[in-house]
Symmetry: C2
Subunit: 116 residues, 2 copies
DNA sequence: TGACTATACAACTATATAGTAATATAGTTG
DNA sequence: CAACTATATTACTATATAGTTGTATAGTCA
């Protein structure tokens, strides 16, 4: 990464952006066990068909998942398992930081401080 | 990651979001060689002081960089070098995909489709 | 003290996109 | 063919945030 030009940095940033969404992480997580179609993912992710479909096409555009149409359904699967390595590394960093719970709380203050 | 609840997924997504910005990646990249102050980073990143400062405080909030005030300057450094491992993995995935240039182009068509 | 430098912050505009609702497309089955 | 199912797409609203500008704070030096 040290020798990436601006264009390269944009590529990388876009890749991270694809992962910067809890719903997409959830979908990727479900695909860990193998391919699933949109209907299954919709149930597992607890979202709507349109929403899941949109996230899936984004993930597909970014090359994170593969599409395969079979009969009446479209099956999605992980394109490159190294995405999980990346997530594990992030989880490692995060669990380190969970020790400093106070710092983390700051990040989510806007999302949960509603109960005043 | 497989056993993360919704809150955990949000943490992870937020972490990725912190990395999903070319300017912040550039700053992290510059910090690879060691700590730097805001003025230096501003020059290296080719942006304004306010802009760099804002990105730095975000990175600091997310625990990606450390702050240290010394004299007149504030020096930033990488909090956890494993962020570079993450980036390397992403770069690996991306360079794999660069072979399929056509697919990538689609992602950036809006940004660059002027130069055929 | 006042002038200067480095950093942070607040207010703003513009853009991106998450999620929703409705519609369209494509395959299946009778 | 019509009716049905699965998925995709379009148009929309609401929200988040990138980047800018101007200002505030804090340290340094004369």
């Amino acid at each position: 990464m040290s020798k990436l030009d601006d264009r390269g940095l944009e590529y990388v940033a876009k890749y991270f952006k694809a992962l910067a969404e809890p719903m997409r992480l959830k979908v990727l997580n479900e695909l860990r066990e193998g391919e699933k179609n949109v209907g299954q993912l919709k149930e597992l992710a607890g979202s709507t068909q349109a929403n899941v479909s949109k996230h899936l096409s984004l993930l597909s555009d970014y090359g994170l998942v593969k599409r395969e149409s079979r009969g009446n359904c479209v099956y999605y699967s992980i394109a490159d398992p190294s995405v999980y390595e990346i997530c594990e590394l992030v989880c490692g960093q995060i669990s380190n930081r969970l020790i400093l719970e106070a710092d983390i709380k700051k990040l989510f203050s806007s999302a949960q401080q509603s109960s005043t």
